[in-house]
Symmetry: C2
Amino acid sequence: MTVNVPLYQAKAELFRTLGHPVRIRVLELLQAGPRPVHELLAEIDVESSNLSQQLAVLRRAGLVSSSRDGAAVLYTLSTPAVAQLLLSGRRILASMLADQEGLLAELRESADTV
Amino acid sequence: MTVNVPLYQAKAELFRTLGHPVRIRVLELLQAGPRPVHELLAEIDVESSNLSQQLAVLRRAGLVSSSRDGAAVLYTLSTPAVAQLLLSGRRILASMLADQEGLLAELRESADTV
DNA sequence: ACCGTATATGAAGACTTCTTCAAGTGATGT
DNA sequence: ACATCACTTGAAGAAGTCTTCATATACGGT
């Protein structure tokens, strides 16, 4: 999937994989170390089958890997480089919010989700 | 769009915005400085109306801003932090390819685009 | 005023991704 | 062997994104 494909396309796929709130939360939780699914489930507000689906997306993309631990399944970040990426994301958001402070009022005039 | 919304959702939206090959290429080209649309068009293999659509996505997300320069329109990165993010992306890809070198053969058995 | 080049926009259909549901597997305790 | 807990999977409709086409706007030159 990330192999044998133009670089910018592989990059787009990587970012697209991160483009989902549940997947972001999973990766953030996994930064602190491996965790079983039921712990993730306790912290993320989502149905268990949905969480499984999203974990499968992360697995296919190679961002996490899983291993069985008794009845539980442990998930682990495949590379600590993921933490860097999330950090950069946080920085951009911060820098954009700073820039846009003046626009706040204007934005609030339209509906929340616009 | 990035305002008034849980942080992890804002982050997901940011990453989703990056999740398109044309948009990635645009951002990478803009790292070197502002550029008019026709120059981007010359380097990215895409129809001009499609490029416009993708530029609009980047504008709405606040990642770039545009200004007119005569008949041309110049696009600029809104924040240099974007460069960091792209760099992190590149690093992850590198570290994943390194990990997966052993899987190369296996992957090549399936079709190119799988 | 008109033409050409540069760019943007709206709308429609194809395509992809999301969520949910029902059913499935595997491990543990009784 | 059975029940239960932990997790995964496949399928289907809803929702979202992409690409393309036709049309629109802005500017500069003649």
